[in-house]
Amino acid sequence: MNKNLLVKILTLLVIASFVLAACGAPATEAPAEEAVTEEAAEEVATEEVVAEETGEEVEIRWRTRPDNQEEIDVYSQISTELDGELDGITLTYEPGGSEGANYQDQLRAEIAAGTAPDVFWIPGTDVADFATRGLILNAADLAAATEGYTAADFYEGPMFHLTYNPETGASGDGSGAVWGLPRDVSTFALYLNLDLIAEAGAADPRELAANGEWDWEAFLEVSQATRALGSDIYGYGASAWWGPYGVWLNASGGGFFTEDRAACALNTEESLAGLDFQRSLYQDFDVAVPYGEDPEPAFRAGKVAMFQNGRWATPGVRTVDFNWDVVELPAGPNGTPGNWLFWGAYVINANTEHPEEAWALVQALTTAQTQGKISALGANIPSRVSQEALDAFLTFTPPANNQAFLNGIAPAAAPTAEGPLWAGSWPEFDKIMGPAIQGVLTGSTSVDDFGATICDEANKAFNQ
């Protein structure tokens, strides 16, 4: 054969294969396939063969935001297992990027392009924005037709928002709205460097908490004692976003919004008192890692005595080489620690071609069994209200004092559920609030000036 002709034919064939390779299904089902046992793989293969024979298989793509490779592996394994359990459904798990890789931005772009998965996870603050724009499916009818489903199986805070009907203002079972089901919940605790606290001779916060003496004053004493250990040692550290600073406002009886979540409440006396106490930690007492600096590397380097973070930080902290544990947040002037109940939800793409199957998957992803497997990683707490699930969570050590997290979400602690703004735009509100509070905590704006102007600006985020 003529060489040139041969080369041309080969080139054309390679190009054609290139095109066709893109059209074919991926050769492997999931990135973590190696993690699946041979038996499980055989089962899956059998299921697929059966499904192909019956011709009733529906492909459902789903995505959630993992924080690390271990979580990706667990979610992949769960996807494979559920694929075998759910009749007529073939699952494709797509690990989303981490927060740093802009999971939400990528998801929004895919929704706009019409290529988003059938089921995906979004943070609680985004639910209203997605629901009111018609991006996620209202699964109320599907939920009503589901035997045994009730919102009461999950924590009340998340379900209030996930069943909120913006047209009627009703919430809960029968409200006519179910925007999704919570994947998990989390809350803040203080990760303690026990070595530093012991070296400073300060009281053990865990004992203080057990004795009911763990309040702002006690917290400040421990912070100051450990800060005195050296100019590069800090008593307290927290990241720069709304969660950490919000607890101080909540704990003093204030908060971001009015009770009906329809207006700004950052300028109330209680909110300003909470903010002022937090400011004093940074400016007056100088016990905190400067606001805006990432405190996690410093904590892991053994230079921060108390690091405020959620359960999701546990896997990372488990690698440190000093003695550590956790304690709940200190109680504020109103008697509660003002903690958050963080959550995110599995929601259904409004444009999915298979809503019933997608709803089946959402339910399967939020069973106690599935949540238990994910919680075993240590990064989060099951979102189902179940003593069994909570008992299992306590066994996922370290930290030894896992109870601190459960105390944070217990009704007695009156945590404020993270939530969307049905009457406004959360991203807009956050855009105004974040830099303004940062100005206070870094000392460039006084609390009085903040209080005098913040709600003039922040109220514009409502009814946008």
Partner: protein, 557 residues
């Protein structure tokens, strides 16, 4: 003579068919305009206008082509080739889309990469076949067997390759998708028609009949070679550019059908107010309608002052930060580059190594660089503060003084955050600018320096009198491109700062703000307006630089 007559008859028939095809094509285009306006209500106005414009132009050009073919003019051939080529490409893309090629990137990445090793076997077989050329005294049987082995190896490798890239699955899926969609089948048929038309019009007899000259052929070939780039430019750059201009007059959220809002977006951006204050600490709400305006800043003098308020304060803060960034980052990445290039232009040993070293930051990924700097800047455990502390301790011990460690909060203090970004940007851009200056320096004739030396000029005189003026075109290019780049600062801020806006909005920049608006707050229309205002600002700055360059250019006149 008979043969010539027969060719003419065939050609004449061909041309008649082409005329009819062009007329039919024009009719189809006209009909598509009608369908666009009478069809789905979900098609937005901009899509209807755009489709009508394209179809209308194609119809007119097709009619023109038909007339020119009838006149036996080469313009008719050009019209046919252009329209049919574009039609073919459009149908091809449509078919690929219908077969879900463009959303199969994951499958492509996984499947195709698995097959690549087997392509190696095919290549091995090919080279095996070539070995025969290296056996001058080969025997026929050896040659034959080598060729046979080569063919079988190639064939085997290729079959394995096709199997590994899941070709059968791909073919089944692709054809399955096409069969399900009548429009896809119509596109396949159209592709065939366009291809036949192109082949027919490209025949020498047809070209001769239409009086095509070599020059015309060269023009067509030129456009053909240019077309991939040109089409890419039009579809992926000019198209979105114009689309964003349209979106800037809408309330687009990238999901729902956008509504026309006229100049509302621009009006909001440019709605500003300067108000005199009765006292320096008078609240904004006392002097402006706080439901519309926010305070951007205030200028105080004595017992009074001026309040600067805007309907969108974030835009003006972003503009202020961006201009501040440009003001510092451009000189800091140009002047040191100029000095460095003069040093590296010397013939000292090891200069090539240093040139490579200084260029390295330019080729490193911005994300990686920003993450490294994030660690360096960390106020508690970062190396920069660590070395500052060591230096101060050393100084204090040496001179028995008590200089206070500043413990600079590089990224968490609003006074230093933007400066931290400027340092990274200047450090990263300097190497590339140095290379540009080096190229400029090497173009300066050595005779000028020799003459200056003879005249007794010193190093400074030579630099000031020869190097700088002769480098003026390079300097202009470097300053212009660095300014444009600096106006678009985004990645460093986005990665390094947490939150990206920085303390008290001290690092919010225009591109960051438009990104946040468009991709995080569902305000694509408003983000597009910001982008166009940014374009105007960059264009204005570049224009000023051009004018200054013209005035001072040594090459003028």
């Amino acid at each position: 003579m008979t043969a010539q007559l027969r060719i003419d008859t065939q050609t004449s028939l061909n041309l008649r068919i082409h005329t009819l095809w062009r007329a039919l094509f024009a009719l189809l285009m006209a009909a598509s305009i009608f369908m666009v306006w009478s069809g789905s209500a979900e098609t937005s106005l901009w899509q209807k206008v755009l489709l009508s414009l394209v179809a209308g132009l194609a119809a007119m050009y097709s009619v023109y082509g038909a007339l020119q073919i009838e006149k036996r003019h080469h313009a008719g051939r050009m019209a046919t080739l252009v329209l049919d080529y574009l039609g073919f490409v459009a149908c091809f893309v449509f078919v690929l889309n219908a077969g879900e090629f463009f959303i199969g990137i994951d499958a492509l990445g996984e499947n195709f990469s698995r097959g690549i090793p087997y392509l190696g076997i095919t290549a091995l077989g090919y080279f095996l076949g070539m070995l025969e050329e290296y056996f001058p005294n080969k025997k026929t049987t050896a040659e034959t067997s080598l060729k046979t082995v080569s063919r079988w190896v190639m064939l085997g490798g290729f079959v394995l390759f096709l199997w590994q890239v899941n070709t059968l699955n791909g073919v089944t899926f692709f054809l399955g998708k096409l069969v399900q969609q009548p429009s896809a089948l119509a596109a396949v048929a159209s592709m065939a028609i366009f291809a036949v038309s192109l082949w027919s019009m490209n025949r020498p007899t047809v070209a001769q009949a239409l009086n095509v000259k070599t020059g015309h052929e060269q023009i067509i070939n030129g456009w053909l070679f240019l077309s991939p780039n040109l089409l890419g430019f039009l579809i992926f750059f000019a198209g979105p550019l114009l689309l964003s201009f349209y979106f800037s007059f809408t309330d687009s959220d990238a999901i729902r059908t956008p509504n026309w809002v006229g100049f509302d977006n621009y009006a909001k951006i440019l709605n500003i107010k300067f108000v005199t204050l009765d006292s320096p600490d008078q609240l904004a709400r006392d002097v402006v309608d706080i439901k519309v305006y926010d305070e951007v800043g205030r200028f105080t003098f004595g017992n009074t002052g001026i309040l600067f308020a805007a309907a969108d304060k974030f835009f003006w803060l972003a503009l202020r930060n961006t201009l501040t960034f440009v003001l510092f980052a451009v000189p800091l990445s140009v002047i040191p580059a100029l000095i460095l290039s003069n040093i590296l232009n010397s013939k000292l040993p090891g200069m090539k190594f240093y040139r490579a070293v200084y260029f390295m930051p330019s080729i490193a990924a911005v994300v990686g660089i920003s993450l490294v700097w994030q660690w360096l800047y960390n106020a508690t455990i970062g190396y920069i503060n660590y070395f500052i502390t060591l230096g101060i301790e050393f100084w204090n011990n040496l001179f028995n003084v008590a200089v206070v460690d500043p413990k600079i909060q590089w990224v968490s203090d609003e006074n230093t955050a933007l400066f931290a970004i400027i340092i990274i940007a200047a450090w990263q851009t300097m190497g590339f600018n140095t290379v540009l200056f080096l190229a400029g320096l090497q173009n300066i004739p050595g005779e000028l320096y020799e003459a200056a030396t003879v005249d007794g000029a010193g190093a400074w005189d030579k630099f000031w009198g020869i190097t700088l003026p002769m480098l003026a075109p390079t300097t202009f290019y470097v300053v212009s491109t660095t300014t444009i780049q600096a106006m678009q600062v985004f990645e460093q801020v986005f990665i390094l700062m947490n939150p990206p806006e920085g303390p008290n909005n001290s690092t919010i920049t225009l591109v960051l703000y438009l990104y946040r608006s468009g991709f995080q707050n569902f305000q694509q229309g408003y983000a597009s307006a910001i982008a166009w205002v940014l374009f105007i600002v960059i264009f204005g700055l570049t224009l000023i630089q051009f004018q200054r360059q013209r005035r001072s250019s040594i090459y003028e006149g």
